[in-house]
Symmetry: C2
Subunit: 185 residues, 2 copies
């Protein structure tokens, strides 16, 4: 597996069922999302802006994607459903065949820019590690089939290895959208 | 990672939060379990019985464990909580350093004996594949830290690659029990 193939496989519209596990409080959270992943050109103005803010500005191997999501969760402080939506740009910068860096306009956990490192495991599972100011996140994504992917995350406190929360998502591709996808690489 | 080290790391009492995703119906299931994993001797009568029913009866590398679980689920046909408990014996038979077979007295999905194949990924993640009569299950287990492990499963129909259900468990070791553990290998 390499990053270009992985991102191409991930492109499309996904219906996601996600479960969050809050380990200290033994609380479950259930989240239903629609996620859109689209390959975009490396000369996109937002991509150039992110690259120019880092030391990767002249990197020719940059592989950018845009992600949009709309989520509905069963859990919040008022015990009512909570809807959120968002958008971010991720730019993969391969440094070797099976590893590299991932720049994000928004972090998964904290609303700030982040630089992650990625690595593929021997079976093609994509793993991503991100250090935020107050936490550390390990994510992994693997394909169960062409149109079903699994995504897990582990959130740790950054000072120690204390694990605060885990999550797992089962994502099914919306087939109609996939047939319209174009590859920009 | 090798199987002996993996099973030794897994030994102990675990508190498990597990989420099931029924993909066709978009239904979540929440399961709280206590799981006990104990290394047992290869001359245990139940182990000898299982080995004698297979072609592995004379295998000197057999590594058996006994698992007990007590589970409480939020979902069943009557929409009330459902409690289940069970016990099974698993016998690992390594064939290479990072792969081998796993014999089970009970299958994960179907209440029948099963022979699975296991393989470790490059980061030490344990993966297990089992073919049952009516289905095919892929499981993976990885350690987030010494005392937290994650376990996912994907259940497919055996005739096609249709995916029926996924699950994910976050498991925390009960520390008091671990200090009493003995290694039988």
């Amino acid at each position: 597996m390499n990053i270009e193939r992985f991102l191409t496989q991930s492109e499309g519209e996904w219906q996601s069922m996600r479960s969050g596990h809050s380990l200290a409080f033994k609380q479950f959270e259930e989240i239903i999302s629609r996620i859109s992943i689209k390959l975009i050109g490396k000369n996109d103005p937002e991509v150039l802006h992110i690259l120019n803010c880092t030391s990767y500005s002249s990197h020719e191997n940059a592989l950018p994607i845009k992600m949009n999501w709309y989520s509905s969760s069963d859990w919040n402080e008022n015990e009512s459903y909570k809807n959120t939506s968002g958008e971010c740009i991720l730019i993969a910068i391969p440094t070797e065949k099976d590893k590299g860096m991932m720049l994000r306009s928004l972090g998964y956990l904290e609303p700030q820019k982040a630089i992650s490192s990625y690595k593929f495991l021997s079976d093609g599972t994509f793993t991503l590690r991100t250090q935020y100011t107050g936490s550390y996140v390990e994510e992994r994504i693997w394909f169960a089939s062409e149109n079903v992917r699994c995504r897990s995350s582990i959130i740790k406190t950054s000072e120690s290895s204390g694990i605060m929360q885990t999550s797992f998502a089962s994502e099914i591709r919306s087939i109609n959208i996939k047939s319209k996808q174009e590859t920009h690489f």
